[in-house]
């Protein structure tokens, strides 16, 4: 499914002394099947933006279109099933006595029969390498395990689009790597992924397109190479290294972004000398 935001503005607490404009006219398209990385500093409007993708927040003005149709007139519950949103620190929402029951919450709400619910739970936990945790209490798990279980709780709905808001914040490097692997697997299975992150290296590894937010507006959008090489001050390590070495000193280096690409580009550009 394709989600389009057209000139979306969002003001918190409008009409009071506490009014804050979090988004000031954002236009953005999430293409089906892509991995879209959303980056930007704290307070740039990232979290506000992603909550418009499944209409948990309604735009103060502007339009949200899903496959070309106005999303505001659609059934919200149905839309939220199709667009799975994983909030920052989603493990704070765990509540059931066992992991299995917690993950089953969403599919049960869908009204699926018990067999189908179990199948969904098994599948979602499997995708996150958390199958062995099914019978445990979510409150007895480690931080990384709880995060995975919480993400499984959203995946169990079988969303067409998965929105991850800072999924790796506060995780150890191994757990981060696992999550990035999950994004790659989801994309391969046809799920559209929107990933919000502060970690540019992480975004560089998975994103097909990158959107830079700043002060509630889109500052740049395009392929990772276009966006990161246009302004290398906040760029992934790979891009900073490649840009510092430079095309002039190493002809044929190109504009690699991912770690593997960069390594390969450096090796081939350095040729026999390396």
């Amino acid at each position: 499914m394709k989600i389009e935001l057209r000139d979306v503005r969002h003001v918190y607490s409008p009409g009071t002394p506490f009014a804050v404009e979090a988004l000031g006219g954002v236009s953005l398209t999430v293409e089906p099947g892509e991995v879209l990385g959303v980056i930007g500093g704290t307070g740039s409007g990232k979290s506000t933006l992603v909550q418009h993708l499944n209409l948990l927040l309604l735009p103060t003005s502007g339009q949200v279109l899903v496959d070309g149709a106005d999303a505001l007139s659609m059934d919200r519950t149905a839309l939220r099933r199709r667009v799975g949103l994983v909030f920052q620190t989603p493990e704070q929402g765990l509540f059931a006595p066992t992991v299995e029951e917690d993950v089953a919450f969403a599919p049960r709400r869908l009204g699926l029969d018990e067999g189908e619910v179990r199948e969904r739970v098994r599948e979602a936990l499997g995708l996150l390498d958390a199958g062995h945790l099914a019978g445990r209490s979510p409150f007895a798990l480690s931080g990384g395990e709880r995060r995975r279980v919480a993400i499984a709780g959203v995946l169990a709905m079988g969303p067409e689009v998965l929105v991850l808001d800072e999924p790796t914040a506060g995780l150890d490097p191994t757990a981060r790597g696992d999550l990035i692997g999950l994004v790659v697997r989801l994309k391969a299975s046809g799920v559209t992924v929107v990933i919000v992150s502060h970690d540019l290296d992480e975004v560089a590894e998975v994103a097909d397109r990158v959107c830079v937010l700043g002060g509630g507006a889109v500052r740049a959008i395009g392929t990772p190479a276009d966006v990161f090489y246009a302004d290398t001050s906040p760029a992934p390590t790979t891009v900073r290294v490649a840009a510092a070495v430079g095309e002039r000193r190493l002809p044929g280096l190109g504009r690699p972004v991912r770690y593997g690409e960069t390594l390969a580009a450096l090796r081939s550009a350095m040729g026999g000398t390396g």
Partner: protein, 263 residues
Amino acid sequence: MTAVRGVGQFYPVGSPLHELDPRAKVVATALLVVGLFFVDSAAGFAVAGTAAALLVAVSRVPLRVFLGLLRPVAFIVALTFFFQVFFLREGPTLFRWGFVEVHEGGLEMGLLLSARLLILVTTAGLLTATTAPVALADGIEDLLSPLKRLRFPAHEVAMMMTIALRFIPTLGEEAQKISRAQAARGADFTSGGLLARARALVPILVPLTIGAFRRADELAEAMESRGYRGGQGRVRYRELRFRTRDALALVLTVLVVLAAVLL
């Protein structure tokens, strides 16, 4: 992100009422509230009502804030009015229809009790809308401090109040965040019967309670690591100053209360 602006919260606009010493405001509110229970005439309520209306105007807090405050009380007011009007049988009969009788005394009592409740809530709302929670707690601590001699833990009580007040919006935000996260998982809090709705709250209440305990732990550790040892020898960043205008406000309050009670 979204601030949860609940009922009875501080409304930071500049007004003469906001400027007053919190101690003066607490005492004045207490006088008005206690005084209201001794007012028993229409003229007295007219004075008290006018005073409350004037204070609302002076406070520059929008009227809808007070309307929001009165909404939850509306039911109680309606109920009180209903019982007084239909079940108090004093004075000449105004209206009779089958077994339903409305007497003059009942109508009068109903109106007076409703007025008392409405003015009471507005007055209390004025205090919290025009006084920052921290200032309010400081003021109360100061007023209670003579009781320290009787081993009353004035500082601890004030600190508990400050923290509780401080965490109302935080917990509100967290509740909102969790309910959004559960809504994203298909939770529905608005449909179904009473039991279904109560059950729908479990996925919010469990994480919220756990979060509250976690926060309490973290806050205690943060306070201890910054050397908090209770009230002994603690100084304040903002010193309270009782000025002429505060005294004037108190005198005015006393006059209004006396007028309302005596009329």
